[in-house]
Symmetry: C2
Subunit: 309 residues, 2 copies
């Protein structure tokens, strides 16, 4: 992997932060985006939270009681260091743990853990010049036991809603954080293995399946028209009607998750009903966060492929 | 100036982007903010545009016709590289030109030129461990002819509304961009000299006066309570009643600028009248942008001094 400094005429900054890998250099390649992969990942985090309406989620028009818009802004700012490390070729686990550690420096708690779990391998793939299902799968397959250990450490920074693991995997409950690392090492589990064992989690499913839904949703965002945040909101609503949100299922069970799909499908296209649904979801504590994660990752792919802002 | 890598246990990112100067390292100093100066500057850009209502400006609740919220999000993302260079000790002109060059990668045009003109020297001062009027004045006084040349080059990236210069300074019209550099060199003008000659510009006045209003407004933000974006919006409204917005005067003349102050003072505290005023200002093409720049810079100072988000 070739590293070089950016193409700036001055080169005087001296912080080296403009070094990117291969095709990631916007000044010298033909990539359509004027931004680096790390910059597009940060912009995806910001566009995701700006898109409205996204029923049940914080967006430009709505806050939750203890989770507000500015917490996501600060989360996106703090994530940047880890995302730049991912673009520079740092191990996926290191980059992810660092991005979560920066993200949590705000008072809202877990704002973007799931988004970052999808973004970090995609940024790695983009920086390596192959942002495709195959390129993303290569990144996943290259993960190590050390990456898995850093993934577990990241859970110590924020509270993440997860299902209980199967009984034979209780020593690998992610909520154990670094206490689970000896068990990881003993079993020789890579981060890819850990994701493959995480049944019923939408983000883990993306890891295991070459980010298939992420790339599909990116295509719909690129095929859509209008301002980027409006495309993001439409992608969110459409995706929510197409696939169960696994965070809703974790928190409320499969029947509520199915009900959410139906209610969103019925309200789609009617701004007044969508607004009512947004209020109702907040009142019922329904937060389709995994769908938001997926749309954030898809927005990153769309930006890399030329979505303009 | 001592440079060192951040205090991360892994240190494996290899992009060097976490190097900051002296007191800027959040892991090892007693600075109250969990973020680096460059991160706080980026967050200030985001909080500034998020605060609402800010009559006449884009904010969380309002877009202008061709200038939308997401353009400011992308501008904040693109500014980051230059802001990090400022924190790493790059010359003010280099850091400013780079931040503007990154900022303009969005379709809204000039979103944050004025904010960056204030933020860059303040970030430098913060990274050097003296974010105070004296520390900011030191940064201003240390600027060179090369900084002035980079400042002029930055005008080639975006259209910036400025007054005509005095006749004896027409060869130094900033709109000439790098064509004015020979004249700068011949006269031996530093960036500090250029700012001192920019009569009637609110941002240049801050440069010339140790950022006095910036630090004053930061104090009011810190003394206020409630969520950060609400404090930002209140600071904007209050400042707009206290001092003429020089962008409004440049675009509409001193009578309109005085009228804006009066109308905002009358509407202050009445959400309905403030909303009407926001609509009216947009209809009249009134954009109090210099006040927004000042409040953005003040938000940075407040974040550095412990404003939590």
């Amino acid at each position: 992997m070739v590293r070089r400094t950016g193409g700036d005429r001055d080169g005087g900054g001296g912080d080296g932060g403009s070094t990117v890998t291969g095709a990631g250099n916007p000044d010298r390649s033909e990539r359509p985006s004027p931004r680096t992969p790390a910059e597009n990942a940060q912009l995806a985090l910001l566009l995701e939270v700006a898109g409205t309406p996204k029923p049940g989620n914080v967006d430009r028009a709505r806050d939750l009681s203890d989770l507000r818009f500015e917490h996501f802004l600060a989360g996106a700012v703090g994530s940047n260091e880890g995302l730049r490390r991912a673009a520079s070729g740092a191990p996926v686990g290191v980059a992810f743990e660092r991005s979560v550690r920066g993200m949590r420096h705000q008072e809202g708690g877990n704002t973007q853990f799931g988004c970052l779990l999808l973004l970090v391998p995609l940024v790695r793939a983009a920086a390596a010049g192959d942002l495709s299902p195959a390129g993303a799968a290569d990144v996943v397959e290259s993960t190590t036991v050390a990456d898995a250990a850093d993934f577990y450490r990241a859970f110590e920074h924020v509270d993440v809603a997860v299902d209980d693991p199967p009984e034979n995997l209780s020593d690998l409950d992610v909520r154990r954080g670094s206490d689970a690392v000896p068990a990881l090492r003993e079993r020789g589990l890579t981060l890819s293995d850990v994701m493959a064992a995480s049944e019923g989690d939408g983000n883990a499913a993306e890891w295991a399946d070459g980010f298939a839904h992420t790339f599909d949703v990116a295509d719909t965002i690129l095929a859509d028209d209008g301002p980027a945040p409006d495309r993001v909101a439409r992608a969110f609503v459409n995706r929510l009607t197409e696939g169960e949100d696994t965070l809703v299922r974790t928190n409320h069970g499969p029947e509520v998750a199915a009900d959410v799909r139906r209610r969103v499908a019925e309200a789609r296209g009617d701004p007044e009903r969508m607004a009512e649904l947004a209020e109702a979801f907040v009142a019922e504590g329904i937060n389709p966060g995994t769908t938001a994660d997926l749309v954030c990752a898809a927005t990153f792919v769309a930006l890399e492929r030329g979505l303009s802002v």
